[in-house]
């Protein structure tokens, strides 16, 4: 009892209390100063539904969720298959590919800003080198590409995470079955599709759920790299909630947005929870 008390106390004060407050903020119009803010019922929600910027931001989140999930899954699976069974140097590769996931997002944003730089940035240089110099541009400054540029960075970060989880799942794949399929004349893709993937499917689905959830709550990397600009081209629900609450003093509205973002991720979280009962992550790092 006494052993749990300090943890429970901290959680009550810095978690439960603010969550309850958040629920209260949603139904009032709080400007940060008013000690008894006026009750507005569901006005924050109706405004949210009519706010075009919310829909634009939600659309960006949707793009983010789709590409930010598919990208790391495909790349992470590819990398894991490439390294599967390799012994020499396997620790080195694992450390390297997982590294981006461990770095602070702010630092990641800084460096990728240089890679995307309009003049002498490495992406433009690389394009010129392969004869595609015509595509060169300021990737983060151009509203047509900014969202995808930030996404590219996010994919760079998340791929290592997917890779490590899938690689550890591959360790448990029964290689006899793969061998047998090969003797039966199945080619690489057939073996992958019918023998390997079914065996790692639970883990694969779990990673999918995890990256999906990440897509709803994306904030840091966008905030650091573009701040939602240029011309709202990268505004996601997270950055929009932040700017409402902390820059426009529309505290109740920002809180409502943040809670809606959280609520949207709940069904995925529940699905994830179901998956986890079937596949355990324990020992994944070993």
């Amino acid at each position: 009892m006494l052993l749990v008390a300090p943890a429970v106390l901290l959680m009550a004060v810095f978690l439960v209390f603010p969550v309850l407050n958040a629920v209260y903020y949603v139904f009032v119009d709080f400007d940060g100063l008013d000690t008894s803010p006026p009750w507005v019922g569901l006005a924050n929600f109706t405004e949210l539904a009519r706010d075009e910027q919310v829909w634009a931001a939600a659309w960006h989140n949707l793009i983010w969720i789709v590409l930010g999930t598919v990208g790391p899954l495909v790349l992470g699976l590819g990398l894991a298959l490439l390294l599967w069974g390799v012994r020499r140097g396997s620790t080195f590769y694992r450390v390297v590919f997982f590294l981006p996931y461990v770095l602070p997002q702010v630092a990641v944003g800084v460096v990728w800003g240089w890679i995307y730089a309009p003049t002498r940035g490495w992406l433009n240089r690389g394009l010129e080198a392969i004869g595609l110099g015509g595509l060169a541009r300021g990737w983060l400054g151009d509203p047509d590409t900014a969202l995808y540029a930030v996404l590219g960075t996010a994919i760079w970060t998340a791929t290592g995470f997917v890779f490590v989880i899938i690689l550890s799942a591959l360790r448990n794949v029964a290689t006899e079955l793969v061998d047998a399929a090969m003797l039966d004349g199945a080619n690489y893709l057939q073996r992958l599709r019918y023998v390997v993937l079914p065996q790692i499917m639970p883990v694969f689905l779990m990673v999918t759920a995890l990256t999906l959830i990440g897509g709803f709550a994306v904030f840091d990397i966008v905030f650091v790299m573009t701040g939602g600009g240029p011309a709202n081209a990268t505004e996601v629900l997270g950055t929009y909630a932040y700017s409402n609450a902390f820059q426009l003093s529309r505290i109740s509205y920002g809180t409502t947005l943040a809670l809606v973002v959280t609520a949207l991720a709940v069904p995925v979280a529940v699905w994830l929870n179901r998956l986890q009962r079937r596949a355990s992550l324990e020992g994944g790092g070993a």
Binding site: A7, L10, L99, V110, Y188, F219, F246, I251, A269, E282
Partner: protein, 281 residues
């Protein structure tokens, strides 16, 4: 049969595979290489050729970041925000994890729901009201307030993580301890805790990295800028009108170097922590 093995689980990679892996590793590391290279260039070289790799050598960017760029105090603040909050998380999680795994106590179910609640609700959901709560508690811009908030964001996960370690211990140990007349506290402190030090270590490393990398919590609750950590310092540096790439690279290097070193040395614990931590979403 040996041919089949090589196709899917070879002991030694073929040339093509080695080349592909090497190139991909280089590509993955490129941004980090770029930071190191830019940091170590001379000021003139950065101005003339900002992103050329290793085209000159000097430590002036590090010096500028350290002295003019305030990265010395940002580094100190990062330590002041990461270390205490990590200690709080590890100590309280170990205690609570033990209680949940081994002791019956009144309100246990309710307390456990609290832990699960913390695992499910992201910081994002309550960051706004927490700002005003801290303001009225006088904890904005304070090391105490921000450390407590940082600790709380990881506490649910820590408790859940440590509980698993205590659950795995055989019950005979406890019985033997009780037979020897150890008090509950002695049993916990002298018998159980020494058996989960590996778990505590993994939790400590993981939590430390999370706190070190945390950007949003200090951004929101250090509005006055008294104790800006590296992540926030770096962000303000890019926000400045004239971005000086050399010192910015140096600042980035100072920010990521402890992370990279800790990760490379303790990669097993770090990876384990991050994989279990992912459950938090």
């Amino acid at each position: 049969m040996s041919g089949a093995r090589r196709a899917y689980a070879p002991g030694r990679p073929g040339v093509g595979r080695t080349v592909a892996l090497g190139l991909l590793a280089l590509l993955t590391l490129f941004p980090v290489i770029l930071v190191v290279s830019t940091t170590l260039k001379t000021t003139q070289d950065v101005r003339a050729n900002p992103f050329g790799l290793f085209s000159s050598f000097s430590l002036e960017n590090l010096e500028t970041a350290w002295t003019v760029g305030d990265f010395d105090s940002y580094l100190l603040n990062s330590v002041l925000l990461s270390v205490p909050s990590t200690v709080i998380v590890v100590v309280l999680s170990t205690m609570a994890g033990y209680a949940f795994a081994r002791l019956p106590f009144p309100g246990r179910t309710l307390a456990f729901y609290l832990v699960v609640f913390g695992l499910l609700v992201p910081f994002f959901a309550y960051m706004v009201p927490l700002y005003f709560q801290l303001r009225s508690m006088g904890l904005l811009d304070s090391l105490l307030g921000v450390n407590l908030v940082l600790a709380t964001t990881q506490l649910s996960f820590g408790t859940w993580f440590m509980r698993a370690f205590f659950s795995d211990l055989p019950t005979e140990l406890e019985q033997a301890g009780r037979m020897d007349g150890a008090s509950e506290w002695q049993l916990f402190r002298r018998v159980m805790v020494p058996l989960v030090t590996s778990g505590m270590g993994a939790l400590a490393v993981f939590t430390f990295l999370q706190q070190w990398n945390n950007f949003l919590v200090p951004l929101l609750y250090m509005p006055g800028g008294g104790y800006r950590p590296l992540t926030l310092g770096l962000y303000l540096f890019i926000g400045g009108r004239s971005v000086d790439i050399g010192p910015l690279a140096a600042g980035t290097l100072i920010t990521i170097l402890p992370v990279v070193v800790l990760y490379v040395v303790l990669q097993r614990q770090v990876t384990q922590g991050f994989l279990s931590g992912a459950v938090k979403g």
